[in-house]
Amino acid sequence: MDAPTPDARAMPTITYGPPIAMLAEVTHRCPLSCPYCSNPIELTKRDGELPTEVWVDVFRQAAELGVLQMHLSGGEPASRRDLEDLVTACREYDLYSNLITSGIGLTEKRLAGLQERGLDHVQLSLQGVDAEMADLIGGYKGGYSRKMDVGKWTTALDLPLTLNAVVHEKNIDRLPEMIDLAVTIGARRLEVATVQFHGWADKNRAALMPTREQAKLCGQRVAEARERLKGTLVIDYVPADHHADYPKPCMGGWGSTGLNVVPDGRVMPCHAAHTIPHLVFDNVKERPLAEIWEHSSAFNAYRGFDWMQEPCRSCDRKTRDFGGCRCQAMAMAGDAAATDPVCIKSPLHAKMQAMAQADAQSDGELTYRVMPK
């Protein structure tokens, strides 16, 4: 999102406007079982999911609150038979709808139907550049070939297509092929996101952590391809921060640009916020969305800068990176208000780098995401 970042140095406390985007995780069900899925370890079962009419009402509230873009995600959103109704609701409330999908569960006819109902954009995940790699990572045989079909149908319908590739130790070296594939299939955008170790990925650090050299080469290749493909393919890149000196900014600041509603209706400031155990999340079944945005304790926990500790508190980079990732601080420092250990100023930085180095050198069995019975 191109959200304007308020210059917080000029203000005593951060002022946050209305959210720009909402991620609607409409289901945790998914035919794939990617070992880096950001969904929580405790997945919500089908009978715990919000029904159609509640989602539709949440979309209405989101639009009134100021949300412009609705990302329909999961799990696999196409696993819901009412996906059509959800897209219709987005159009009705004039929300820009983005379908974040693995492609499984979509047919040419279903895609055309979704387009007719006003679907604006398709973001298709890419686990690898051939069936062997993609189906190994996705844990779903035949997934790759169906995905390629979905990509072709999407561009043939003149629906804009983004390919989203999560890169990690096992596939990061094949980035040039991913870029070629994106161009061949007619995608307008390619997202290259280095795996983030939240949720299931944390169980797979040894198998997935890229080496420093791999990460560096990936960055160079992205820079080269951006130049070469200007006007053909836009590439968004999330680098590996474990090998960096400073952390990535937390989406324009915690609770400042977006919100995430999970399948059972709880509202979170980010897709990984469930990894911070002391946060209490309000539910759309119990509280209006606008009230949650403004008053939820989970949203207010890390808004602005007052919660910060040293070295972040007195650091002039804080308005740029917001102290890094709260979830990463939680995972590594055991305190979500600590400085992200990725930062060179964190007392845990050396330990974090040694751990990343060790994980990068070692390999492990993949632990796949599984639904509870």
């Binding site: 985007a21 873009q69 955008r189 053909t232």
Partner: protein
């Protein structure tokens, strides 16, 4: 550069909307919501996929009572930036 006879057109999945909550126009595109200032909104209001660049410049010059060659640079720059970001096509 965009020749004056060429016709700029927003690509599918890219559309403008008036954001009532914030009181400004936005360009909605894949994974992007771009706040438009008055000039950007005025340019896109005339970018209808029928008018050529030259036609757009004529309309803007007339409507805003501005010298055509003075606005032309900004208009082209704006359209080119959208083209580079795969939101607009010129044919």
């Amino acid at each position: 550069m965009i020749p004056e006879n060429d016709i700029p057109r927003l690509l599918s999945g890219c559309r403008t909307k008036y954001d009532k909550v914030r009181g400004n126009w936005v360009l909605l595109a894949p994974e992007r919501a771009i706040k438009l200032d008055d000039i950007g909104a005025a340019i896109l209001a005339e970018t209808d996929g029928v008018r050529s660049l030259g036609g757009i410049l004529d309309v803007l010059a007339e409507k805003y009572n501005a010298p055509r060659d003075q606005i032309s640079g900004d208009v082209v720059k704006f359209l080119e930036s959208l083209r580079d970001r795969r939101m607009l096509e010129v044919s």
